[in-house]
């Protein structure tokens, strides 16, 4: 485990009587890309605001590269690149002037500044809009201006609140590529609602709900908690479904079978394994002996959205019960 660059200990934030963040402990090391997940209002943004020094915590501490945010905020902020929620920027400035302003604030001068700006512009493909006022730019370009601002000084710690929100699929792909490229040298926290993004770029996923960490592991760990982990789905014509379902159910490793009708007279049958069983082999042997007109067959690695929902709604339901 590399030395942690971000250390969050016992972090809490109270807004009046509401505990937005209710005790978060996290350590993020170099080379980690931590995906911050959670329902709206779970405390993701509030946590990021405290880690970057915009909000003062009600309790607990934040250390970034050894600098305590409470006592040495400027030193900590120097090593952080931050993309706030909604990628705010001065609308009346052009990206060129805006980035020059940020470079100057960051203490970059002369050729160093020019190179830093040029690299950030190239990395975020801002070239075509450099001289248009930011307020006239599309959502995607605005987001990329925010991103360029965050990565310009090559920060050791990068914190991004929904970096791909509002981008089209091509831009998302480009931004994810950029994050992956920077990842080995930095500690990165990314909040997102897009679960496929976690699978695409994160080395670690943390789910928070009502201000607490409710899951923390690699995306693969989380996927393993899915009911669909190692499940096998086959697609058959409707006529053969009933027979096939019975035969699948009879296999020793199968815990249950789901049937999902598809358009065009086809049916998806999903066989769920009993724990720790790998079904693929058993099922392929079964298929070899049958004369089904098989259309498709695939092994599922798990569904993150299912895990997400199971973890976060479970808790919400429990909270409702305890309140009632």
């Amino acid at each position: 485990m590399p030395a942690p660059m971000i250390e969050i200990a016992g972090l809490t934030k109270q807004f009046g009587t509401i505990a937005a963040v209710a005790g978060i402990d996290l350590k993020v090391g170099k080379g980690e890309v931590l995906g911050f997940l959670g329902p709206n209002g779970a405390g993701k943004s509030t946590t990021m605001k405290m880690v970057t020094g915009y909000l003062a915590p009600s309790g607990g501490s934040v250390r970034v590269c050894g600098h305590d945010m409470a006592t040495d905020a400027i030193a900590a902020q120097r090593v952080i690149g931050y993309l706030p929620e909604g990628a705010p920027a001065y609308g009346d400035m052009t990206p060129r002037h805006f980035l020059a302003f940020i470079a100057e604030v960051r203490g970059l001068r002369g050729d160093t500044a020019k190179k830093a700006i040029a690299d950030a512009v190239a990395g975020t493909e801002l070239d075509p809009v450099l001289d248009q006022p930011i307020e006239t730019l599309s959502k995607g370009f605005k987001r990329r201006v925010g991103l360029a601002q965050a990565i310009m000084h090559d920060p050791a710690v990068l914190i991004m609140d929904e970096p791909t929100d509002g981008l089209d699929p091509n831009q998302k792909h480009a931004v994810r590529g950029l994050i992956r490229k920077m990842a080995p040298e930095k500690a990165i926290i990314v909040s997102t609602h897009l679960l496929e993004e976690v699978e695409a770029i994160c080395t670690r996923a943390v789910i928070i709900d009502r201000g607490r960490v409710v899951a923390d592991g690699t995306p693969a760990d989380l996927l393993a908690r899915s009911r669909h982990h190692n499940a096998v789905t086959i697609t058959l014509p409707e006529g053969q479904a009933a027979g096939a379902k019975a035969k699948l159910r009879a296999l020793p490793g199968v815990a249950g079978v789901d049937e999902t009708p598809l358009p065009g007279g086809l049916v998806d049958l999903t066989a769920f394994p009993k724990s720790e069983v790998v079904l693929a082999e058993e099922i392929s042997r079964l298929i070899a002996g049958e004369h089904w007109s098989l259309k498709k067959l695939h092994v599922e690695s798990g569904r993150l959205d299912e895990v997400f929902r199971a973890i976060t709604t479970h808790d919400a339901a429990r909270a409702r019960e305890s309140r009632a």
Partner: protein, 244 residues
């Protein structure tokens, strides 16, 4: 210090990136002209000095400066750039001072553009240019006082209209506390010390003494300590919001 300059530059240029600067300057100059020539009867007085012109400055600033200061922080808060600005590695005081100085310099530009009236009065007669210079300096200091109040109030809200209205009210109190009718009211019953204390809070009292042509250290100290006080309040207001 260099960061104050960075913030100052961005802020100052931002005024001219939008119509705000031009609208403000034009209205400022028109209003100055109206007050001086129509209400102040500059020509009819037959005196070649600018005391009439300067006597309306407090009342003009009362409305125009809050219009300028209301956006200083309220707009940053509303548009979210506050979060960007406060997570950059700049000490808060440098941001507060940089923004304030930019706004102050901008009012300085507007004030400097009233120079045709100075040319006019020199053309018509031979005024005491020392007094006029002192008055300009006094007017500029007073604008700084109004601005620091407006800036501190703007930091407490995300709503520009609230920032404007509250600033006008507070500035009004700082203005009228030296007006004759207020002092008369106090003089009727309060001891002399109270009356002079109330008067000494007023922009008008200090500004009037400067426009006599005497730049007294006490007046300078008054304006600078007022500005320092409200900028400190500005920093505290932002810190309190940070603590949520």
């Amino acid at each position: 210090m260099s960061q104050v300059w960075t913030i100052f530059k961005r802020e100052f240029l931002a005024y001219f990136a939008t119509p705000l600067a031009y609208v403000f300057i034009v209205i400022f100059l028109i209003a100055m002209g109206c007050f001086t020539f129509y209400i102040g009867q500059f020509y009819e007085n037959g005196v070649a000095d600018l005391s009439v012109f300067f006597s309306y400055h407090p009342w003009l600033y009362l409305f125009l400066v809050p219009a300028l200061s209301m956006r200083l922080w309220a707009e940053e808060r509303r548009s979210g750039t506050m979060e960007l600005l406060l997570t950059l590695p700049i000490p808060l005081w440098a941001t507060v001072v940089g923004k304030f100085l930019a706004a102050w310099a901008f009012t300085g530009v507007a004030l400097a553009l009233t120079f045709p009236i100075w040319i006019t009065v020199n053309y018509l007669g031979s005024p005491d240019n020392g007094v006029i210079l002192a008055s300009y300096i006094g007017s500029f200091l007073m604008a700084g006082g109004y601005l620091s109040i407006g800036s501190a109030i703007s930091a407490t809200t995300g709503n520009q209209v609230i920032a404007f209205v509250v600033s006008v009210v507070v500035c009004f109190l700082f203005t009228v506390s030296g007006a004759p009718f207020v002092l008369e009211f106090f003089r009727a019953w309060a001891p002399f010390a109270v009356v002079s204390a109330v008067a000494s809070f007023s922009f008008i009292t200090h500004f009037a003494s400067i426009t006599q042509g005497v730049i007294d250290l006490r007046d300078i100290v008054y304006f600078f300590s007022l500005i320092a006080l409200f900028l400190a309040a500005n920093i505290v207001a932002i810190d309190l919001k940070k603590a949520g």
